[in-house]
Structure formats: C-alpha cells, structure tokens
C-alpha cells in the first residue's frame, strides 16, 4: 500500500498524479476463505479490518451486492457521539468514538474526524431530568459529558434562539469529544486497509444463498459462484431479513425510511452538532459549508429509499424555530435511506441459530457513529466466540425481556 502523505501528494503532483495506485483491488473471488463478510458498508469493512488487525485472520472476503460504502454509510448525517444512557450502548459507542479519534492515523486515510462537540438540547423539564440522568450515567461509564446552561449553549452556538416562544432552551447535555467525520472516507479508508492486508473486496456480487451442513455454515452462493467459508458475518443493514431467511432464521427487524437534507453551502456559522429532540431535528455544518439536517423516520415498512415529505417539513420547521437564521437558506437536496429497526431500537451483534454464522445489524438510525466499535466487537465475537462489547446485543435478549432501551432518556434521534 502506497503511503498517503503531503509529501506523496507533492511528489505525485510533479508527474500529474499518474503514479497513484488503486485504493483497493478488484479481485475475482477465491474458492474458499476463512471468513466471509456479507456487506461492504462501514460495519462490514470494519469487522474485516479488525479480524485482520487484532486476530490475524486475513483470509477474508467482503462481498457486496452494489458498491462498497453505497448504503447507509454514505447516506447518514455523520454524527459521532457516545452519550448514551444504558451501559451496553455507552460501552460500544464510546469504544467507537475513541477509535474514531485515531482512525485517520490507523488507516493512513484522512477520515476527517472532527471532535467539534455534540449538544443535545433540553427544552422541557422532562428532558432536563432525562439528560441529567444521562450525564450521571456517563460519568460512571467513563464517557465525558456535562450538563451546560443556556448561556453556555449560546456561546457554543451563536445562531441558536434560546427564547423560542414555545420551547425555550433550558440547558443541554454536551459531549465535547463528539463530532462528525467524512462518512464516505470511513468506508474507503477501511476498504483500502483491508485490501492492503490481502483481503478481497468483491463488489457487484450478490449473495443468493447460504449453504450449511449439520447446522454449521459452510459457504455462500453468489452471482459470481459458490464460495466456501468457515465463518460468515451478515452485515447488510436493511437487507438483514433477506439474508437471515437464506440462512434459515428470522430476525426481529423491520426496514423503514429515514431522511436527511442539506442546505446550500455557506461560510462557517456553526461549529458544533446540535440535536433538539423535543421539536425533532438535528443540525451540523459540514466542512463544505452545507447545513446537514436530519429528523424522524417514517413509520411503515419501505425499501424505496424515499421518505414522506411531511417529515422534511416537520424537521425544517423545528430547526427554523431553533435557528431562525436558516429561514433564508435553501434546501439543496433531500434523500432517504433504509434503516433496520429492532424491537428495542438497539442493534443486534450476535451469534445466530446457524453455527458459524453471525449477525450485525439493526442499527436503526444510529449506525454510523458505531462503525469502529461495532467492527471491533463483531471481530472479537467472530474470532473468539465472545465479546464483552457485544454481549448485551445478542438475539436472545428479546425472549428474556432484557431490552436496551435508549428512548428512555429522551434521546431517540441520532
């Protein structure tokens, strides 16, 4: 792998950048791999990367129906935070956030992690209590957050309107080391590193069947032929249900649409990420200058990657109320993605009824921020059979009634 640096760019500039090699190879599949990961999104690629890096398992194929990073990894609003209430969530999201801090250096690919701070506004008494609870929980979880006053909110976000006539800002939960990253770069950076370890990323290849013997997975059928493996990781977000069906089990998941939008780019005016859950919206400014905005999900099953416009209206209305200066900005683009939601809105990282087959999905609206932690834990689970990071996210929790419910702290949006 050719090392990326300013020096390398300068050297290449002198020969018109003709010397750059491919960021990742585009191989034909081999007959057999130790591990096959289905899905070359952020979570799948990160799983493969840490299998190689942490456990030396490098005979790995990552099979992707479309293009790597082409799903929710490239469609989200890029927020990274770990100020979760429940212990298992805080653990995996904080692991992810911590890995994000050094990911550019680890991958030698600038993923532009920008720990600019994430703020969750409290606009009712109920929310104040909820976030103070989270702040207390975070302190014991080793997640650095703090409760801040409206005055401090205004200092950090000069464009905010504290005195909204309906929902004045009463304070906020502030995570200084939360932030954003360049979403595509996360997928590309992991892909390049995986490829450099000798792993095969096979794009435009659809898995059509899962083969098993004696209750144990032995391989997959694909549009590029049958491929054998010892272990299989299903990391396909919205299409988890279809893959699980091939593997002979069912999942507590539903696919629904989540939308986001961006404004036209403007000069820097907002340095932090703000989430306003009472009015349902969140906003940050990308390095390009666009205001990146997200809100709620549709409530019905949907695979079209198109959501309903009234959600966009509600979100924009909420944010115009919170940040009146955006009223004269313009929406440049709106889009939708398909998220897979579980019964408690927390993810699944788990063994499955099929031996050697593992599932990582159900990230709902919050997957991007978890990518490195999710990959780290999933790799540990696949390599060793157990991971403290993923233990609570097992499939059997629904049978036991042991839920990981984050909505309790008013923190539903991601």
């Amino acid at each position: 792998m050719k090392h990326y640096s300013a020096f390398a760019v300068a050297r290449e500039a002198l020969r018109y950048h003709t010397g750059w090699e491919r960021a990742w190879r585009s191989p034909e599949p081999k007959k057999r791999y130790d591990v096959i990961i289905v899905g070359a999104g952020g979570h799948g690629l990160a799983t493969a990367y840490y299998l190689g890096k942490n456990y030396g398992i490098q005979n790995v194929a990552i099979i992707e129906k479309g293009w790597l990073g082409g799903g929710n990894t490239g469609r989200n609003t890029t927020i990274i935070r770990s100020n979760y209430l429940q212990d298992p969530s805080a653990a995996i999201y904080e692991k992810a956030r911590d890995l994000y801090e050094g990911l550019s250096q680890d991958l030698n690919y600038n993923i532009m992690f920008s720990p600019r701070g994430v703020m969750m506004l409290a606009q009712t008494q109920h929310e104040i209590r909820g976030y103070q609870r989270t702040a207390h929980a975070n302190a014991l979880q080793g997640v650095k957050t703090e409760w801040i006053t409206p005055e401090r909110v205004k200092e950090l976000v000069p464009i905010i309107n504290l005195e909204g006539p309906r929902y004045p800002v009463l304070g906020a939960l502030w995570q200084e080391r939360g932030g954003t990253a360049r979403h595509d770069a996360v997928a590309w950076g992991y892909a390049r590193a995986c490829s450099a370890m000798g792993m095969d990323i096979i794009q435009k290849c659809e898995v059509t069947g899962v083969r098993s013997e004696n209750g144990h997975v032995v391989g997959v059928d694909t549009t590029k032929g049958a491929i054998d493996c010892d272990k299989l990781g299903i990391v396909v977000a919205g299409h988890s249900g279809q893959l699980a069906e091939m593997a002979g089990f069912r999942l507590p998941l539903e696919a629904i649409a989540l939308q986001a939008l961006v404004s036209e780019p403007i000069k820097p005016c907002m340095d932090v990420v703000v989430m306003a859950n009472t009015v349902h919206g969140y906003m940050s400014q990308s390095d390009k200058g666009e205001m990146v905005i997200g809100g709620g999900t549709d409530a019905f099953n949907n695979y079209t990657q198109r959501g309903s416009f009234h959600h966009i209206e509600e979100t924009v209305r909420a944010l115009v109320e919170t940040f009146p200066m955006i009223s004269r900005l313009k929406m440049l683009r709106q889009w939708g993605g398909i998220v897979d939601m579980t019964g408690d809105r927390s993810p699944l990282i788990s063994k499955t009824p099929l031996g050697g087959c593992f599932i990582n999905g159900g990230w709902g609206t919050g997957g991007f921020k978890a990518i490195p932690g999710s990959g780290w834990g999933m790799a540990q689970l696949m390599a060793t059979g157990h991971s403290p990071l993923t233990e609570a996210f097992s499939l059997d929790r629904f049978k036991e009634g042991r839920f990981i419910d984050e909505s309790v702290a008013a923190g539903v949006a991601h």
Partner: protein, 109 residues
C-alpha cells in the same frame, strides 16, 4: 407520501391523516404460551421486500383501524380492507394475485 382509501369512510386519506400500525393479522399469545410463541408474536416481524399486509388507522379522520395490502418495494397499494378479520379477504388476495402472481405472505398466498 402515501394515500390509502379508508374502507370505512371511503376517503382517499393522505398519509398525514394516517397512523401506521405494523404487521397485520398477528395472533395474540397471552399467559400459557411458550417463550417462542410469545417472542415471535411480539418481535419477529414480516419484513418483506414486496407484498406486505399491514395495519393502519385513519387517525385524523374517522378513527378506524383498517388493513392495507401494499408493496414495500414500489409502494403500490393492492387494496384496503376491514380490520375485523384474522386473514386477508378473498377479494384482497385476488387483487394481489392480479398484480403479483404467485405471491405469498406468511401463511397466506
């Protein structure tokens, strides 16, 4: 932005008048049921990319719950029907078959 015809009041209701209610024709399992039965009843959901039967409520209209047969891949609506049934009506099954021959959903086809 869906529109569904409420089978009770006959209105072609805009999605903003409607409340989605998830998978249709669930069989309720109460005390005495096994772990698996109860788990599947509460959490295992049909999640097809294609024909789906689901519950809706005309919440900001007549208030009635009803059923819809819809394609989750194209959002095509095959029809809506009464909530007071444990299975899709023959009329609805025929309407789906006309558009998606060979369809099946759970135990229905």
């Amino acid at each position: 932005m869906l529109t569904l015809r409420c089978p009770y009041c006959g209105v072609d209701a805009d999605e903003t008048e409607l409340q989605a209610g998830g998978e249709a024709h669930l069989k309720r399992y109460g005390p005495g049921s096994t772990e698996d039965e109860f788990h599947d009843y509460l959490f295992t959901r049909e999640n097809p990319k294609g024909v789906h039967l689901e519950r809706w409520r005309h919440a900001a209209g007549c208030g009635k719950w009803f059923h819809a047969a819809r394609c989750t891949a194209t959002l095509e609506v095959f029809g809506t029907y009464t909530a007071q049934t444990g299975e899709p009506t023959q009329e609805i099954k025929d309407a789906i078959s006309a558009k998606r021959p060979g369809w099946s959903w759970r135990e229905f086809s």
